[in-house]
C-alpha cells in the first residue's frame, strides 16, 4: 500500500525524464537531467495562474479533478507491490471511466477557453478514446476469458507467461504490444503526438493546455505522466511470475517500467510522427490486436487447432 503510493508519486515524472534522456542520448547531446520533469513540476507550483477571460468555472477546477480521477484510477493498479490499493471484481470499468472522466474534464476545460487551438487539440485527443476504450475492454476481456473475471491488477499479475504454453505467450506479447501502443497514444508521444514540438497546429495534448498555467499546468503534466505510468505498470506486471517475493515484484516492476520508458524513447528517436489525418487509422491497431488475441483464445478453447 505505502509502496504503491510512494511509487505513484515518484515514478511517473521519472518515467518522462527517462524518455527524454534516451532521446537526448540518441541525439548525441547531454540533455536535461532525469529529474527535469520534477524540477519543472516544482517550479510551476511557484507560479501564479492566468485564467482566460472567455473561460468559466470548468477551466479552474478541471485540472484538480482530472488529476484526482487519474490518481484514483492508479489506486486500482499495483505499483510495485503484489496488490493494488483498491480492487474488486470488474473494477477495470471504473478505471476506464475514471480515465475517461479525466480526459473529458480536460477537454471541456480546453474548449472553455474558446480558442481554435484548444479546440483542435481537444477534438484530436477525444477522438482517440473512441477506439482506445473498446481496445482496453477487449484486452481485459481476453484476460478475463483466460483467467476469469478478476481485479484489474490481478488479471495482469495472475497471467504468468509460460513459454511452454504458446497461448500464454501469445496473450502476453500481443496484449503488451497493444498496451504499449495505447501508452504512446495516451501519453501523447511520437509517433502519434510530439511533446517536443513548438507548433500549435501540430500538437495534440500540449495544445489542449496552451492556456493552462502555473499549478494547474503542473497538475495536468503530472496527471498525464501518471496515466502513462498506469499502462507501463500493467505491462510490466505481465513479466512477474506468480509466487515471487514482494522485493522481486518491486524490482521487476521498476525494471519493466524503466525499460518501457527507454523503449518509448527509442521509438521517438527512430520514428518520425504520423500525419494527424492518419493517426486515428493507426489508433485502431490496439483494437484489432486485442480482437486477434481474443479470437485466438476462443478458437483455442473451443478446441480448434
Amino acid at each position: 500500500m505505502i509502496l504503491n503510493l510512494f511509487f505513484m508519486l515518484v515514478i511517473p515524472l521519472l518515467f518522462v525524464g527517462i524518455i527524454n534522456k534516451t532521446k537526448a542520448i540518441w541525439a548525441g547531446r547531454k540533455g536535461p537531467s532525469l529529474l527535469q520533469p520534477l524540477f519543472t513540476f516544482l517550479k510551476l507550483l511557484h507560479k501564479q495562474e492566468i485564467h482566460s477571460l472567455s473561460s468559466g468555472h470548468i477551466f479552474r477546477w478541471a485540472p484538480s479533478l482530472a488529476l484526482t480521477a487519474v490518481f484514483f484510477a492508479a489506486l486500482f493498479v499495483p505499483f510495485g507491490s503484489r496488490q493494488a490499493c483498491f480492487g474488486f471484481k470488474g473494477d477495470f470499468f471504473l478505471v476506464m471511466s475514471l480515465l475517461a472522466l479525466a480526459k473529458a474534464v480536460l477537454v471541456l476545460a480546453a474548449m472553455d477557453t474558446g480558442s481554435s487551438f484548444e479546440g483542435m487539440g481537444a477534438s484530436r485527443e477525444i477522438s482517440f478514446t473512441a477506439f482506445l476504450e473498446p481496445a482496453f475492454l477487449l484486452i481485459i476481456g481476453s484476460l478475463a476469458y483466460a483467467g476469469g473475471l478478476e481485479r484489474i491488477g490481478q488479471l495482469f499479475y495472475r497471467h504468468t507467461v509460460n513459454i511452454y504454453n504458446e497461448w500464454s505467450v501469445i496473450i502476453a506479447v500481443m496484449t503488451a504490444l497493444a498496451l504499449f501502443i495505447m501508452l504512446l497514444v495516451e501519453g501523447a508521444r511520437v509517433p502519434f503526438d510530439d511533446p517536443a514540438t513548438h507548433l500549435e497546429l501540430t500538437m495534440i495534448h500540449e495544445v489542449m493546455v496552451l492556456d493552462t498555467s502555473g499549478p494547474n499546468l503542473a497538475l495536468v503534466h503530472y496527471a498525464s505522466a501518471l496515466k502513462m505510468q498506469i499502462y507501463a505498470s500493467l505491462i510490466s506486471y505481465f513479466l512477474i511470475p506468480e509466487g515471487m517475493g514482494t522485493l522481486g515484484i518491486t524490482l521487476v516492476f521498476l525494471l519493466g517500467s524503466f525499460s518501457l520508458a527507454v523503449l518509448a524513447g527509442l521509438v521517438e528517436s527512430l520514428m518520425p510522427r504520423f500525419r494527424i489525418s492518419r493517426n486515428l487509422e493507426l489508433v485502431i491497431i490496439p483494437l484489432s490486436v486485442a480482437l486477434l488475441v481474443l479470437a485466438a483464445l476462443i478458437v483455442h478453447n473451443m478446441g480448434g487447432f
Binding site: 547531446r29 536535461p32 519543472t40 516544482l42
Partner: protein, 250 residues
C-alpha cells in the same frame, strides 16, 4: 535503418562539454577592450561607428553591432577579446569605460535576479518575441537549444505558450507594428516573470535606433532583468547570461 545507424555513429557526441567555460575561436569579437586612451583614434572611430556606440572614452556595446570597423582601422586602440561572457543585468554594465587608474577597460557582470526565487534555478522557460529582428538573433536563440549548445541540459527551454513561460526574451528593435503583440505577450505570462533583451537591436534599437517605423515606448517603461549584447548574440553568451541570471554561475 542501416544508413541511419552509420550516420548516428559518424554523428558521435556533439554537445559542447561545458558551455559556461567553453573556449571560442580567437577571431570572435566578444567584449570590447581599449588598449589605450587615444583621443584622435576615439574621435575618428566615433565618426566611423554605424551606431554611435563610441563616445568619449567609452564604448556602449549595447549599441555596438560588432562590425569591427574600429578594430580594423585602429588596431592599437581597439580590440575585441574572444570573450562571450558579455551579458549584463544593467544597461550601464554594457558601457565599457576607460579606467585611467587600472589603465584598462571595465567588464560587464550579472548578479542573480531577485524576482526569481527558488524553484526557477533548475527549470526556466523562455518565450521569445521577435519584434522586427533580422532573424539572426532568432536563429542564434534557436541554436542555443540545439544539439551542440544544448541549453536544455540546464533545464532552460523555449516554450510554445507564454502561459508556460517564466521570461520574455525579446529580439529585434520593436517595430510599431509589433508593439501591441509584444505587450500582449508580456501580459500573457504569469508572475513571477522577467524581461530579457537579446541582441543590439533589442537593447538599443541598434542600426534602426532613429527610424520612425519603430515604437519602443512600452520597452522604455519596463526594466529588463538581463541584457545580452551581440549582433547577433552568440548562443554561448545567451546561455551564460541566463545561467548567471539564475545564479548558477560561480
Amino acid at each position: 535503418m542501416f544508413e541511419l545507424l552509420k550516420a548516428r555513429l559518424a554523428h558521435g557526441y556533439q554537445a559542447i562539454p561545458d558551455p559556461l567555460r567553453a573556449r571560442i575561436h580567437p577571431s570572435f569579437p566578444g567584449v570590447p577592450v581599449f588598449l589605450r586612451a587615444h583621443e584622435a583614434d576615439f574621435s575618428a572611430a566615433a565618426a566611423l561607428c554605424p551606431t554611435q556606440a563610441i563616445e568619449g572614452f567609452s564604448l556602449d556595446f549595447g549599441k555596438c553591432v560588432f562590425c569591427g570597423a574600429c578594430q580594423r582601422n585602429f588596431p592599437e586602440t581597439f580590440a575585441f577579446s574572444p570573450e562571450f561572457r558579455m551579458a549584463s543585468d544593467s544597461r550601464n554594465g554594457l558601457v565599457v569605460q576607460w579606467d585611467p587608474a587600472k589603465q584598462a577597460s571595465s567588464r560587464p557582470s550579472v548578479c542573480p535576479s531577485s524576482v526569481l526565487q527558488q524553484g526557477f534555478s533548475r527549470s526556466f522557460a523562455l518565450r521569445n518575441v521577435s519584434a522586427a529582428g533580422c532573424n539572426a538573433c532568432e536563429l542564434e536563440l534557436g541554436a542555443a537549444s540545439n544539439v551542440n549548445f544544448d541549453m536544455g541540459r540546464y533545464g532552460l527551454e523555449v516554450v510554445a505558450s507564454p502561459r508556460h513561460a517564466d521570461a520574455l526574451i525579446l529580439t529585434g528593435p520593436v517595430s510599431a507594428n509589433m508593439a501591441f503583440a509584444l505587450e500582449e505577450t508580456w501580459l500573457a505570462i504569469p508572475e513571477p516573470k522577467v524581461l530579457i533583451l537579446c541582441g543590439a537591436c533589442a537593447i538599443s534599437g541598434g542600426l534602426f535606433a532613429e527610424e520612425g517605423a519603430l515604437d519602443r515606448s512600452w520597452l522604455t517603461g519596463q526594466s529588463a532583468a538581463l541584457f545580452i549584447p551581440g549582433c547577433p548574440a552568440h548562443p554561448l553568451s545567451i546561455i551564460h547570461g541566463l545561467m548567471s541570471l539564475l545564479g548558477r554561475v560561480d
